[in-house]
Symmetry: none
Subunit: 275 residues, 2 copies
DNA sequence: ACCTTTTAAGAATAAATGTTCCATCGGCGG
DNA sequence: CCGCCGATGGAACATTTATTCTTAAAAGGT
C-alpha cells in the first residue's frame, strides 16, 4: 500500500515497450503529472494527455487495474503519503514501523511501543506546525514581560508547571497560576498589560481556564495560547496561538510534543534575554 | 492560493462560535481529517462526521464557498502544496541539504528544531532502555497498590504530577507528594508496604527526594524509581528502577522521553486492572 | 491488394456525485 | 398555547463521471 506507487512505476517501466503508442503516451503523461493523476477527472486528464477518456480506462485495465478509479487510488495514496512526510526533517516512519513490528503488540511493552511511535510522529510534525513569526512573537513577549503567568489544568498542568519552572530557572519572574483555594480568578485579575499569560488547554477544554484567558485578553494582557486546534475556544482569546496537534492513534492526548515545545520555548527565551 | 488553507483555518476559527452545532461538528471534523476532506466524497465525509451530505454543502456555503467542490479545492490545494514541500524521496541529497539548513537555522526556530531532534532520539532509545520484566513488575505493583504516591521535584515534578493525574483518571487512589509547608517527610511516613511510591529524580538529584525513597524502601514500601543513570542514588533505594537517558546534545535534560514513558505506564496499568 | 488483427475514436450508458428542495423538528417569543 | 424561525434530515434532481460499446481506421502479414 505504501509502496504501491513505486511498484506501479516498476510495473510500468517493464511493460512500457509492449504498450500501444497511445498507452505509452498516457504512461509518460501519468508519470510526469502524478498530482493531476491523483486529483483530476478522466476527461480532464485525457484532454491533458491528448487522448480520449476511454483510452485512460484502457490504460488502467492494461495495467491490471479494474478501472481508472482503481488506478487513481494509487496516485492518491502517494499524495497523502508524501504529505504526511512533509514537515519532517527525517523520515522516521519506516523505522517506527519496523520497530513496532519487532515489539510485542500487546501488554505493557506494546503500550510503550505505541506511545513512543505516537510521540515520535507528533514530534516530527511539530516544527511544521509552529510558524516562525508566532514563535518569534511569543519569545519577544515573554522576554519583555514583567511577570509571566502560566496556566493549565488537568493534563495541561504538566506543561504549565514546566514552563513556570523553566522560566524561573532563567531568573525570570514566572508564576504558576493554580486554582488552589479557589483563588484562580482573583489571582488572574492582578495580571496587567505589562505581564504575560501563557495558557494551555487541550480538549476537553477546561472552562475555567478559558474564562481566564478571555478576561485577560480583553484586558490587553498579552496572552500566548497552546492548544490543539484552530477551533479551540482558546484560539480566540490569545494574541499568539500555537496549535499543536496531539492526536494519538489509539490513546488519549500525547504530551510529548507540548512538553518538547515548552522546553524549546524556554530555551529560546533564554537566548533572547542574553542579548 | 498557497496560503488559502491557512486562511480557511483562520476564517473558521473566527466564525466558529456563530455556527450551528452541526456545522461546528463538521468544522472540527474537517480540521481533524484534512486529508479525507481532500479526497473523499461528500457522502463518505458526511458519514464520517455523522451528518447528512446536505449539511456538508451548507457548511461550505456558510463559509462563503459556492458549494462543497469549491471548498474541497482548498483541501486539495493544501495536499499538493505539502506534497511538493516533501523532501524528494528518491533524492537523498536534497533531504540532507534541507536537514542541514534547518540545523543551521538559528534563533527560536533553530532551538525548536534541536529540541525536536533530541526528543526524537530520546524516544527512539526509550523502548530499549526499559526491560520487559521491570515494566511488568512496575505495572503489577501499581495495579495492586492501596494508594500510589508519586514524588519528584523541580524538573521531575512535571512527570510526578502527570503520573498522579493519569492514575487518578483510572480511578486509582493516587497522591502527589509535594513539599508544601515542609510536610513532605511527615507525609512520607504514612506510606506503608501495601502502598506504592513512584519517585523520580534526574541529576542534579534532589537530596530530599532521595531520602524519602531511602526511608520508604527501608520500610518495605514498594518503590519504583525513574532516573537517568544506574549510578543514581535513587537506584539503590528502589525495588524497580527505570533508567531513562535524558541526555541532550546541547541543552539541559529532555523531558519528552520521561513524560512519554509515564503516559505509557499509566495506560499499561489501566489495561492491567481491567482484567 | 486483400484480409486479419490490433488500435483509436466517439457516442451511448449507467453509476455516482454534488446540489437543491421541502417537510419536519425544536426552541423561543408573543 | 400558538405561530415563527432557524436548523436538520432525507429524498429528489440534475449534473458530472467513469465505463462500455460500436464503428472506423490503421497496421501487418500473406
Amino acid at each position: 500500500m505504501a509502496k504501491s506507487f513505486e511498484r506501479l512505476k516498476g510495473e510500468l517501466a517493464r511493460s512500457y515497450p509492449a504498450l500501444s503508442p497511445q498507452l505509452q503516451r498516457i504512461a509518460s503523461y501519468a508519470l510526469e503529472h502524478p498530482q493531476d493523476m491523483a486529483l483530476d477527472t478522466v476527461a480532464t486528464l485525457a484532454r491533458g494527455a491528448g487522448v480520449q477518456p476511454s483510452a485512460m480506462v484502457r490504460f488502467a485495465q492494461a495495467l491490471g487495474y479494474e478501472g481508472f478509479s482503481d488506478l487513481q487510488r494509487v496516485f492518491r495514496g502517494r499524495l497523502v503519503e508524501r504529505s504526511n512526510h512533509a514537515p519532517g526533517l527525517h523520515n522516521y516512519r519506516e523505522r517506527v514501523a519496523a520497530f513496532q513490528a519487532d515489539q510485542a503488540r500487546s501488554g505493557p511493552q506494546g503500550v510503550l511501543a505505541q506511545f513512543v511511535a505516537d510521540g515520535m510522529a507528533a514530534l516530527e510534525r511539530l516544527p511544521g506546525q509552529v510558524s516562525a513569526a508566532d514563535l518569534a512573537a511569543a519569545v519577544r513577549i515573554l522576554a519583555g514581560a514583567r511577570t509571566i503567568y502560566t496556566l493549565g489544568h488537568r493534563r495541561s498542568f504538566t506543561v504549565a508547571y514546566y514552563l513556570a519552572y523553566g522560566l524561573t530557572q532563567l531568573d525570570l519572574n514566572a508564576q504558576l497560576l493554580d486554582s488552589m483555594a479557589g483563588m484562580l480568578r482573583d489571582k488572574a485579575e492582578l495580571i496587567g498589560p505589562k505581564d504575560a499569560l501563557v495558557v494551555m488547554s487541550f480538549k476537553n477544554y477546561t472552562q475555567e481556564v478559558i474564562e481566564v484567558a478571555q478576561t485577560c485578553h480583553a484586558r490587553k494582557v498579552p496572552v500566548i495560547a497552546m492548544t490543539d486546534n484552530a477551533l479551540s475556544p482558546l484560539a480566540r482569546h490569545a494574541r499568539v496561538c500555537f496549535q499543536i496537534e496531539e492526536k494519538a492513534s489509539k490513546f488519549f492526548g500525547q504530551l510529548a510534543a507540548p512538553v518538547c515545545f515548552a522546553q524549546a520555548l524556554v530555551v529560546a527565551v533564554g537566548e533572547q534575554i542574553e542579548k
